[in-house]
Structure formats: structure tokens, C-alpha cells
């Protein structure tokens, strides 16, 4: 079974001492848990300023360590805010044809429902590029509002937490373009319940490591009470469908 972790961070984090500060460390962690591949965002783009020259150099150095990536794809962090954002225009992103992008509207203080961001979401939707948003950062009501105003935009909800199943159910019921990352769905039976109610193709295995635990969600994946094809769908199939033609494996 192919296992793809759709939510990983690469680089140091301010609140802990972690081993995934470079690609070698990342691959060692993937190997330890038998995870075949992952999507990573660089912590320099999340906790630092994505626009700064230092961040660009740092990210380039981290990702250049592997000339032909076989274990990861990059979820670049964007700030859709014009000349004060990163990059300046959506065309800069579209040219790189990323598998997915990540946005942090609360952390980076931009309005995801404002006119500039709306133009970005239209472009991303038109080019089938999903955007990942951390529910712990920006809240499910904002994600719901974004999904409502951009129904063609595919949204991967990260770190939704174990207390929000009612809100997640409504999101999945209402918006076909919304997918949920499973790492923090740790209420008893949560993954199976959502899979049975809304389909395993809406649930994307992920962990949020190293900020969040990866061992528990990985163990859960091996012990889900679901048919094998459904488990395979959660493990990597749903991510493959979400990413589409840019899926590299």
C-alpha cells in the first residue's frame, strides 16, 4: 500500500528541537514509519517571511539537496496580497505548476476573501491547483466561507482537530471541493465515520509532523476498520485524485 503524508514541515520549528531540519532527516522519519512520500512546506515560509531574500535562499538550499525528488513534493506557501505578498502575481505560481500550495491567512495577515486573494483563488481553481489551509490557524468558518465563494477551488483542510466533526461533516456535505487531512482526526472512530458518511476519497492521510504527532495517525492507518480499497484511498489515493496530473508517482 502506497502511503503519502500530505502534511509535513521541513526545517526547524521555533517551539521544539526536531530532526527534520533537512531532507535527510525528513527521509529518515518517513522510513521509520513506512511512509513512501509526502508533501512538505518549508518552515522558513511559514514562520519566517516568504518574501525575504533570506527565506528564498534558505528554501532553495533545503530543496536543492535532492536534485530529483523521489520522496516529496513541495507545497509552496503563498501570500496573495499583490506587491506586499509572495509572489507578486498568480502567474508566478502558475508557471511553476505546483502540485499544491499552502496559504496562512491569519499568520501572514492577509484577507483570503479580499479582492486580491479572490483573483488568485480563481486562477488556482482554473488550473486545478489545490490550496492547503490549516484549520487550527484560520478556523473552519473562514474555510467554509472560502469554499462557498470559490466552489471550483479544491481545498485541503489541515489539522482540523478532533472536536470539529460536526463542522467537518457540513463542509464535506456542502462543498465537493473540500478534502480533510486526517492527522488530527483522533476522536474515537472519526476517520471511519467520515469515510463511511462522505467517502474515503475525501480523506487525505497526513500528519502535520513534526508539529503534530505522526506515529499515531500512521498506526491508525494500519488498523482502520474499513475495506482495504478504502484504506488505500485514504493512504494515498485521495491525494492522487486531489493533485491530479501533477502527481509524480
Amino acid at each position: 500500500m502506497l502511503v503519502f503524508d500530505a502534511h509535513r514541515l521541513l526545517g526547524p520549528i521555533p517551539s521544539d528541537d526536531v530532526t527534520t531540519t533537512d531532507l535527510d532527516g525528513l527521509v529518515a522519519e518517513l522510513d521509520h514509519l513506512a511512509i513512501d512520500a509526502c508533501a512538505v512546506s518549508c518552515t522558513a515560509e511559514i514562520f519566517g517571511d516568504p518574501r525575504s531574500e533570506h527565506t528564498r535562499e534558505t528554501v532553495a538550499a533545503w530543496l536543492a539537496a535532492e536534485a530529483a525528488p523521489t520522496r516529496h513534493l513541495t507545497a509552496q506557501v503563498i501570500i496573495p496580497a499583490g506587491t506586499s505578498g509572495w509572489p507578486s502575481t498568480p502567474e508566478d505560481i502558475l508557471g511553476a505548476a505546483p502540485a499544491l500550495v499552502r496559504a496562512c491567512p491569519v499568520r501572514h495577515h492577509f484577507d483570503p476573501l479580499g479582492p486580491v486573494a479572490r483573483s488568485w483563488w480563481r486562477e488556482l481553481a482554473a488550473h486545478d491547483i489545490p490550496v492547503a489551509l490549516d484549520a487550527g490557524e484560520c478556523g473552519l468558518p473562514l474555510i467554509s466561507a472560502l469554499a462557498a465563494t470559490h466552489p471550483r477551488l479544491r481545498i485541503l483542510v489541515l489539522s482540523a482537530g478532533y472536536r470539529e466533526l460536526r463542522r467537518l461533516a457540513e463542509l464535506l456535505e456542502t462543498f465537493p471541493g473540500v478534502y480533510i487531512e486526517t492527522g488530527t482526526l483522533v476522536a474515537a472512530g472519526a476517520v471511519e465515520w467520515l469515510a463511511r458518511e462522505y467517502g474515503p476519497d475525501r480523506l487525505v492521510f497526513g500528519t502535520g509532523a513534526p508539529l503534530w504527532d505522526d506515529a499515531g495517525p500512521r498506526f491508525l492507518l494500519d488498523h482502520l476498520e474499513l475495506p482495504e480499497p478504502d484504506v488505500e484511498m485514504v493512504a494515498a489515493g485521495s491525494a492522487r485524485e486531489l493533485i491530479g496530473e501533477r502527481w509524480p508517482w
Partner: protein, 266 residues
């Protein structure tokens, strides 16, 4: 033997849990090799300790050897200690559960004293909710409880809950006889589990999952996939619980599946 020292049954009330039943919990326990689970009932924690404790005892009676009962000590119940005293030797009862945050009573408040004396006198462990920086259950306050009650076995639930408090909780457990860490919680990582064992000692850390609040499979995975030495992992998963619960924990039904699980690691 794998013992989940921190479980619940019933529905928590403030959010939706898809699988609140004992049947589901035991089916998942069988699926991953957890031999026994100690549970307090959400009715006891949220509403009515007397009624909920009876419900927990009924479940422990219905599933002997698989479910143990933690009896919730309600500090607002003036005769609660008398009721619990009559229940302590019922087969299947593991000890007392205190949740100072739910009850809005600091664990050092005198209203808990009669319960703590009862537990010490009867040599039953006390499992407390533990929450770093809480006015009610900070691990330093729990360490003070252990200091005031020599001989009492006190478990710091969630090892203090928040990651930035794990190291201090582990240092407190290392320094205070009787004080142990229980590791259930969504914030725990294998990285922090390994550090807690290194600081407090493997004999001071106990496996718990917070099921059915949380999914027991997730909690077990953190221990199974950690880089603990096998002997330490065995203590955390069940060895410590067997030692602390003594005769209250019946012999397990079958050879542990621990080795199977370890064999399937990464």
C-alpha cells in the same frame, strides 16, 4: 500485557464522538492488542458522579478483566467519600479519578483531602487530570499532593497536556515518589514520549489513550512506533500498570500481542 490506564465511556457532551460504546472500545482493543482499559464514565465526570460511577462499575462487571472502573471523586459531594469507600473493594474497581478542572476545584483544595486520604488508606491509585498552568491541576500542584500524602500513587493525567510543560512534569515525577505520568493526549509526540522516559524514568510513565474521548489506536501507535528501548516500552505499555494496580488487575486473558505489534513497527 498492554494496559490503557486512562479511558472513558459515554459521550463527552461538548463535541461529537462517533464511537462512545464499550463494545466498540473492546473491539478496537482486540484489533490492536490492548488487554485492559480503565474507564471513568462521562456521566460521572460531567453530571452525576454517583450515578456515573455505578455505570462504570456495571461495565467493569460486565467485562471482567477487560474494563476497570475509575470512580470519580466529586469534591462538591459532601458524602461522596463515604459512598466511594463502600465501592472501593468491588471487583473491577481500579481507583479514584479526580478532574479538578471539570469540577472547578483546585486539587490542593481541602475538599479533595478526604478522597486522597481514602485512596492512601486503601492503597488505591488516583488518576488526576493534569494540565500545565491550570489553576486547578498544574503538575506542580499534583506533586505537592503526592508530597503531602506519602504512599499515595498519583498519576498526572496527560503528563500535563501541553508540550511546553512535559519536561517540567517529567522532572517533578522523577523527584517525587508516588508521582507518575500518564501520557494520553492529542499533543503528545513520540519525540516527547522518549524525552519524558529519559527524564522521569521508564518506571514512572504509563500508557493511556483517553479512549473513547480519543481513538485508542492513535495513542498506542505513539508508544509502538517510539524509539524507546524494548524493556522501557514494556514498562510503559503495561508493566508499570501491573505493578501499581496489583491485585486489582486480573491476569490477562492471553499472551500479549505486544511482540506482534513491535514486530510490525516501521
Amino acid at each position: 500485557m498492554i494496559v490503557d490506564i486512562h479511558g472513558h465511556l459515554g459521550s463527552p457532551g461538548d463535541f461529537f464522538v462517533p464511537e462512545p460504546s464499550a463494545q466498540w472500545l473492546l473491539r478496537m482493543a482486540d484489533r490492536v492488542g490492548i488487554d485492559a482499559i480503565g474507564v471513568s464514565h462521562f456521566v460521572a465526570l460531567n453530571l452525576d458522579a454517583r450515578r456515573g460511577n455505578t455505570m462504570a462499575i456495571d461495565l467493569a462487571t460486565q467485562y471482567p478483566g477487560r474494563l476497570g472502573a475509575w470512580l470519580v471523586a466529586n469534591p462538591h459531594d459532601r458524602d461522596g467519600d463515604r459512598v466511594i469507600a463502600d465501592q472501593l473493594d468491588v471487583p473491577g474497581v481500579w481507583g479514584l479519578k479526580v478532574h479538578p478542572d471539570f469540577h472547578s476545584v483546585p486539587v490542593l483544595d481541602r475538599r479533595y483531602e478526604r478522597y486522597l486520604r481514602l485512596a492512601a488508606d486503601h492503597s488505591v491509585p488516583v488518576l488526576s487530570h493534569g494540565q500545565t498552568r491550570s489553576d486547578y491541576s498544574d503538575p506542580a500542584d499534583l506533586a505537592e499532593v503526592a508530597r503531602r500524602h506519602p504512599g499515595l500513587t498519583l498519576l498526572v493525567g496527560h503528563a500535563g497536556l501541553w508540550t511546553d510543560g512535559f519536561a517540567r512534569a517529567a522532572e517533578l515525577a522523577a523527584a517525587q515518589p508516588g508521582l507518575h505520568l500518564e501520557i494520553a493526549g492529542s499533543r503528545l509526540t513520540t519525540r516527547w514520549l522518549e524525552r519524558m522516559v529519559a527524564i522521569a524514568g521508564a518506571d514512572k510513565v504509563l500508557f493511556g489513550t483517553d479512549a473513547n474521548f480519543l481513538d485508542p489506536r492513535v495513542g498506542l501507535g505513539k508508544v509502538v512506533h517510539s524509539r524507546l528501548a524494548d524493556a522501557d516500552r514494556e514498562l510503559v505499555l503495561g508493566g508499570n500498570a501491573v505493578r501499581l494496580l496489583g491485585r486489582r488487575l486480573p491476569p490477562h486473558r492471553q499472551p500479549s500481542r505486544e511482540q506482534d505489534l513491535l514486530g510490525r513497527r516501521g
